[in-house]
């Protein structure tokens, strides 16, 4: 791959655009078969590291497939991401990418936008041939007060 750092960063940005648009199938197309998705946070109140989502590709897909049968808040989420660092390991053909993430929520009724969450992505991206695939995404939340919460992952 000619520019693995750029390919890795592009993948992070593309994943956010697809999740914003709820194009889940296209999102999963960016993920490796052994993809793992985790949302974590630390509680200074209870002094515990917490896991708030813990899925592999199949279970995340099941979760999202069944969503239309659930009652959900339909306010769109916008993921604003900035790639901070890309550490490419040429031997492993993997990049570790750290990005800042802000998630904004826009109400359907009136269109008011509010900051919903602040977090970091810790991604592992496999790069082979001309392709890049997300193999791990850890969303490390700073924000722990999420109001109604969300049926859609970050």
């Amino acid at each position: 791959m000619e520019n693995p750092e750029k390919a890795a960063a592009d993948l992070v940005y593309r994943s956010c655009l697809l999740m914003d648009q709820k194009k889940f199938e296209e999102y999963f197309a960016l993920c490796a078969d052994d993809f793992r998705y985790t949302i974590t946070a630390y509680s200074p109140e209870a002094k515990v590291d917490m896991i708030w989502m813990d899925e592999d590709k199949a279970s995340l897909k099941r979760t999202l497939d069944v969503l239309p049968r659930h009652n959900s808040d339909h306010s769109p989420l916008s993921r604003h991401v900035t790639v901070y660092t890309v550490d490419y390991d040429a031997a492993q053909k993997k990049a570790r990418v750290v990005s800042a993430l802000q998630v904004f929520r826009t109400s359907l009724d009136g269109g008011e936008t509010q900051l919903f969450a602040v977090a970091k992505y810790y991604d592992v991206i496999a790069l082979f041939g001309s392709e890049a695939r997300l193999t791990e995404r850890i969303v490390r939340l700073e924000t722990r007060m999420l109001g109604l919460g969300s049926h859609i992952p970050f």
């Binding site: 509680s43 896991i51 813990d54 659930h70 999420l146 049926h151």
Partner: protein, 406 residues
């Protein structure tokens, strides 16, 4: 055909115990009265003892009566609770939500207190006060504190209150075996501040007729054998519980298979919950346990605390599975809590500016969809408030017990 305003305000054709006036959920004056007559009088849960494992560990607590407290484990390992209030100039003593402090030192003028609430050090005491100061009169305001068998730390602002055992009676016994089998610890804590009245959240926890809002619960519970055989049981002081059933998690296509991990002394995949007046729920969906506690902030805003607890003895694999089972429906990204919160904020939005009545009138032999849990809650609410929940602005007769319960 819709109704005009006059018809909309007519009382329902049910006994007064079977409906409530909508304004009990929106009136700021009623909320202030609830703080005085209910929250400052009853036992509330501040935290779990595992949040204070060592001597001098503390945890702050925003009490729904309107005062800020902290709970601290003393050098004698006893758990005590105090106002988070410096007796000098009223500053907050402990700013962090949790920590460890052998001496609790105010940042403002460095007065310090020990873990029993005694005033220990007063900076430049002699120079400023000479011999005019009695330290005993500067100790912290202590709040009554007791632990239940599961390790929950209960506090009561009312020095004259009945003890915790008398307040709970036998209401917690339905989970006594499960919650006292092994020491527990908190693995999950999150809060949600939502625009609704606290009673609407407790109503939701008190009736599972609202399982219709949950696709997960319809599939795994309502459509399964035994769901409608569950009976609700009432206890003094507004508490109650619903009997258990085996939940068929494998009937929901969003997960893979039935729950397999056990909770000590609990039936596999059971669902037991206990609602405690005025806003606490113990909820065991084996193999995971959730505690809801509420801190009402106004008539139309509430902070809900969600704690997940697990046996301390869990192996890493067991804990990971327990967490997974918990967060799938109860975490901020889970299926059910989001739907519940959506529903109660929708209620609050609809209730704004409306004077009418809400029905609590389902009678199905105390089974899952009977609304006895809410009727039982409002009987206690009416007694403590000396107002009928069905007609809160009609003066009650002195000593009158509201006609709430059939």
């Amino acid at each position: 055909m819709g109704r005009n305003e006059s018809a909309f305000q007519e009382k329902p054709d049910f006994p007064a115990s079977h409906y409530v006036d909508t304004r009990i959920y929106t009136d700021p004056d009623i909320f202030k009265e609830e703080q005085e007559r209910i929250f400052k009088k009853v036992w509330m849960i501040a935290c779990h003892e595992s949040e204070l494992p060592n001597a001098y560990d503390y945890r702050t607590y925003q009490h729904p009566g309107g005062v800020n407290l902290f709970v601290i484990r003393g050098e004698d390992l006893k758990v005590r609770c105090f106002y988070n209030f410096c007796t000098h100039r009223g500053n907050t003593l402990l700013y962090d939500p949790a920590g460890n402090a052998k001496y609790i030192t105010c940042i403002f003028h460095m007065w310090s207190f020990d873990s029993r609430g005694n005033a220990d050090t007063i900076t430049r005491e002699k120079e400023g006060y000479q011999d005019r100061l009695c330290k005993d009169k500067l100790s912290l305001r202590e709040v009554k504190t007791e632990l239940d068998f599961s390790g929950m730390v209960w506090v009561n602002l009312d020095d004259a209150s009945i003890d915790l055992g008398s307040y709970l009676g036998e209401a917690l016994d339905y989970l006594k075996d499960e919650l006292s089998a092994e020491p527990l610890e908190v693995f999950h804590y999150h809060r949600a501040i939502v625009d609704t009245n606290y009673k609407l959240w407790h109503d939701t926890n008190s009736e599972i007729y609202h399982d219709f809002v949950h696709y997960h619960n319809r599939k795994t519970g309502m459509m399964q054998k035994g769901y409608f055989d569950r009976k609700f049981h009432c206890f003094p002081h507004g508490h109650g519980y619903l009997e258990s059933m085996e939940i068929r998690y494998d009937a929901y296509e969003g997960v893979e298979g039935q729950r397999r991990l056990e909770w000590p002394k609990a039936p596999t995949a059971c669902h037991k919950f206990i609602d405690l007046f005025p806003g606490i729920t113990y909820n065991l969906r084996s193999p995971t346990f959730r505690l809801d506690t509420m801190i009402p902030l106004s008539a139309t805003k509430v902070m809900i605390e969600f704690r997940g607890l697990a046996p301390k003895s869990d192996s890493p694999e067991q804990r990971r599975q327990r967490i997974k089972d918990y967060i799938g429906i109860w975490g901020p990204f889970g299926r059910n809590v989001h739907e519940d919160l959506l529903a109660v904020t929708g209620q609050a939005r609809a209730l704004a500016g409306v004077k009418s009545y809400l029905l609590h009138a389902r009678e199905e032999g105390f089974n899952s969809h009977d609304e006895i849990g809410m009727r039982h809650f409002y009987e206690e609410w009416s007694r403590l408030m000396n107002r009928r929940s069905s007609g809160p602005y009609v003066p009650s007769e002195p000593g009158c017990v509201p006609d709430q319960q059939r």
